[in-house]
Point group: none
Chain length 219, copies 2
DNA sequence: GGCAACCTGACAGTGACCTGAACGGCTCCA
DNA sequence: TGGAGCCGTTCAGGTCACTGTCAGGTTGCC
């Protein structure tokens, strides 16, 4: 998933970024309201993590601006313990969730995953796909009763296909899930991951549509 | 997603088309206001990318015309850096967004994706044509309950006919869908593909209008 | 009948895709 | 501190499905 992180605290920002990268997400990290707005790429994100107290303004201004522009990207607010009114205003302004600093990084992972699921219209965390049982919230896959472990990247890619069962995704769309803006991919990374996932989950799990893309194998 | 691209610059047009095709969209590319008007009301586009300075008129005329006709299809304006007033007028005229040339193709992808997201609420676009059931997002076709696989080229051609049920398309128009500008086709490629599609989907699927072109067999 | 348009089976070249292997960066642990 | 192991990425070689072309056959129109 592609995430915009707006956070001016370097330590926290770095920690959050590392955590979410570990989860297989693509993170763009900016530190000011101006950068966030001027990123102009804003609409290309699946999720925004928004600190409120920023050096050049208030995060809520940014949120309101985006909502007025018709942007419905989910937003999770990161707020200090004592900014209760901010939190309420944030939710009123169209934020989807908030987290109180200091927060547990694993909890952040969980909330991000929850927002992603809700956003993808698939709140049910357990899915069955062919011979696989997939627990989205636990990120666990069982095949013939055996737990199969996917790495972060493998999971990120597989998840993309999983959210839209049967829908065809081009390599470009899959790359978008894995990499932040501006990342140039000049090799066959996607192919390699597809190959590795197939090796773990079974060849039939992912279907190749030559010249078009990939999709989850039906049934 | 179905996108109408109105852009008279061949280089830019081709780049934009390739990028969006990579993202899995279906692009119809025209270069004049006249062609845009002719195409816009015949089919349901989900998005229009509109250049303003066109050889036979101004893009805003087209936009105003569509809005007067009650067409609410989202429009993103493509404009040169110095045409500030155009941009403002564009937004006033009912455009949803604009991009300043030269723009980053990834940014375009992102904005288009944002528009696409608004359509995600809709159920999967499924079309029925005669005995065929066509799942547009999966790019999958069922015939008598059997899944039929089309190759990339076959799909591109079939899609062109599909979006204009009953409407006649010339070989030239079909070639335009399949090949970049300047590509010279000196053989009967289109005929061959028509033949291949018929073999897969049934002879009656595509109707020949001798001396004119082809159209989807209406049942 | 003669011509043009169209259909379709066959075929060779190509490039999209697959996958084993290697490499560098990173973390963990002794 | 250094070694082991994992992960992400790149590379290279091989395979094969798709593509474009052609040739010969069929159909429809004048």
């Amino acid at each position: 998933m592609r995430i915009l992180l707006v956070e001016d605290n370097p330590t926290l920002g770095e920690a959050v970024r590392d955590q979410l990268v570990d989860d297989g997400h693509a993170i763009d990290w900016v530190q000011t309201v101006r950068e966030a707005s001027a990123g102009a790429h804003t609409t290309g994100y699946n999720l925004v993590l928004l600190d409120l107290m920023l050096p050049d303004g208030h995060g809520l201004d940014f949120l309101c601006e985006r909502r007025r522009a018709g942007d419905v990207t989910p937003v999770i607010i990161l707020t200090a313990r004592d900014q209760v009114t901010d939190r309420i205003e944030g939710l009123n302004a169209g934020a989807d969730d908030y987290m109180v600093k200091p927060f547990d990084l694993d909890e952040l992972s969980a909330r991000v995953a929850a927002v992603a699921r809700r956003y993808n219209g698939n709140p049910n965390p357990i899915m069955e796909v062919g011979a696989l049982v997939v627990d989205l919230s636990a990120r666990r896959i069982c095949r013939d009763g055996q737990v199969v472990a996917l790495t972060a990247r493998e999971w990120a890619l597989f998840e993309g296909l999983l959210y839209r069962p049967g829908m065809l995704l081009t390599k470009g769309q899959l790359e978008e899930r894995l990499y932040a803006f501006g990342t140039e991919i000049e090799s066959n990374t996607i192919e390699v991951y597809i190959s590795r996932i197939r090796k773990k989950l079974g060849r039939e799990t992912i279907e190749t549509v030559r010249g078009m893309g990939y999709r989850l194998g039906c049934s």
